[in-house]
Symmetry: C2
Subunit: 350 residues, 2 copies
């Protein structure tokens, strides 16, 4: 399940600048706004009009990813996608990224080439330019920092703090699958560690594993909004699970939410795998994270604009803050949704 390396070039053979040059030599700038890319103290961008949007993420080996089951190419792709997802969640268009890496000597040049191939594939698919970064050694593991820049029209940017009572709560796609994909990969890793001769059993799990290893940002949804003339009233990307994102929107907007369990999209594979794992599918959707779908709210007057869009699920309604953040279960019960998030903090030591 790890990356195959037929050739191994030590990083020291190239040196820092040789390495950067080697890894970035195929980069071609696509945007007129990318004036100067890799190779100076700073990249130079030209945003003549509109607003500039910037987002940044830090990914740390052992916390955010496990290289025993994550191919480096997929990791490069995902590192870009998680950042672009934040730009789309502003209803903006990403244009450039910077990428900084902390690399231990465990990695060969070929391994980094695979990582960059994934970065490049994401840059190509999402039409963004890699314009700069920093490369350093790390004393343990791989550290990835991506900053994305984008542009949007001032009157079309969508924030988290602007949901209003009566707005409809919408989701762009199914939730919980990425989390379940991770559980499958973790299970197979444990089996492999206890008996390296057992082959991983990933049969029929392509969808869930794909959602974990190669997520996509909803560029297409933002494009569909523009085509339909829709500007959501509030929006956030679902990186930490639906409940956590609901808490952000409700907390910042000073409102509550009433969510129908039956309105939360869950893929049949996720449904089945959750049950296999003895988990409640809705809990996976609420707390799982890493689906990178968009959670957004719309004025009910705009319902015709979303109704015919593919992959848009109406999951509930914005309520007064005093009503809290509630889930109406399929069984007819109503209970409080709990805030999740930053599960990472609990599991580390110094």
């Amino acid at each position: 399940m790890s990356t195959n390396e037929s050739k191994r070039t030590e990083l020291g053979q190239l040196g820092e600048f040789g390495l950067i040059e080697h890894l970035t030599k195929n980069i071609k700038l696509k945007h007129p706004s990318s004036v100067k890319g890799v190779g100076d103290d700073a990249a130079v961008l030209d945003y003549g009009s509109g607003k500039t949007v910037v987002s940044t993420d830090l990914l740390i080996e052992g916390i955010h990813f496990d290289l025993s089951y994550t191919p480096l190419k997929h990791l490069g792709y995902k590192s870009v996608v998680v950042n672009l997802s934040d730009i789309y969640a502003m209803n903006a268009q990403p244009k450039q990224i910077t990428l900084s890496l902390g690399i231990s000597n465990r990695f060969s040049v070929e391994a980094l080439e695979e990582f960059y191939a994934g970065v490049q594939a994401a840059c190509d698919f999402y039409e963004v330019d890699l314009v700069g970064g920093d490369t350093s050694s790390s004393n343990r593991g791989l550290i990835i920092s991506v900053t994305a820049l984008g542009t949007g029209d001032a009157d079309k940017l969508v924030y988290r703090n602007t949901a209003k009572v009566g707005d409809l709560i919408c989701i762009t796609g199914d939730l919980g699958a990425a989390y379940l994909g991770l559980q499958i990969l973790e299970r197979e890793k444990q089996i492999y560690l206890s008996n390296p001769d057992v082959k991983p059993d990933l049969e029929g799990q392509n969808y869930l594993i794909g959602r974990q290893l190669k997520p996509e940002a909803r560029k297409d949804a933002i494009a569909a909004f523009a085509k339909a003339g829709l500007v959501p009233t509030a929006m956030i990307d679902i990186s930490d699970g639906l409940s956590s994102e609901l808490f952000h929107i409700c907390g910042q907007s000073g409102v509550g939410a009433f969510v129908e369990e039956s309105g939360v999209p869950i893929h049949p594979d996720a449904q089945m795998q959750a049950i296999n794992f003895n988990l409640d599918p809705i809990t996976c959707a609420l707390s799982g994270g890493e689906d990178y779908e968009l959670l957004f709210t719309i004025d009910p007057a705009d319902i015709d604009k979303v109704k015919y869009l593919p992959d848009i699920y109406i999951a509930g309604e914005i309520t007064p803050a005093s009503d809290g953040i509630k889930l109406h279960t399929k069984g007819g019960n109503i209970h409080d949704i709990q805030a999740q998030g930053w599960q990472h903090l609990g599991k580390t030591d110094a």
Copy 2:
């Protein structure tokens, strides 16, 4: 020599979002171009005119800094400064930064408050806004990623690849001191580790230690250039030592350089300390790094514009590439300057 903590609040007590809110609650946005700061998927900036410049740096505990002798407040300050230095090196003005942290459970909330106090002090002094970031746990040590954004006039941005034969090579301040400060701190650390009762002997070393722990970016030099109507022909900040930066400018501009040892500014304290350490002062200046002065080239016709500026040293001349990159020593010898840089890569393991 480490930070005193009278109170200790575990990170888990606040949670991720509580922590970010706690650490960023005193941030006030200064720039009209800072439309939206911390608290959404992305920061929103408005650069109506000019070019946007972006730079990013990754700092890793154990590689770039040692907390046994680096106060967290100084580290916060320096983390910002090293990034702003890249923006000034484009002859641009920094306006915003994003800050991402990977934090192990070793750190208390109070420790992070100290770090942020340093970040805030740098933001205040350099008049930049902290507009976003990402906070995560790390499994070992502190990881800091800063991205700086700034603006500059298209016709005044200064690149690395535009030095011309005959240009004068200039430096904004003395070199080698930060490296020697680091050597003093490392020596005292080793003494302390072998006998914790021995007090560190830092007497009379304020200048060198200050250059290491609290460097400044040369905002004032950029302002002086503007006032004098000077636009350098090429520029880079000196983060990896003069030789490394000369190689960048010469390599990218397709030129050579002839540097006079007598023209390379070295502080008397650095001079003396180098000799105490049995090091050649000019070697410290060429290879030491972390001084964050600016190396720039000017058209000789502009010499009157720099001649009366304080702290500008003319160190040599740009030559044809075929002449190589040479140092003319005080002893009258001429020898090749060696490229340095990425010393970091050699000293790590997996």
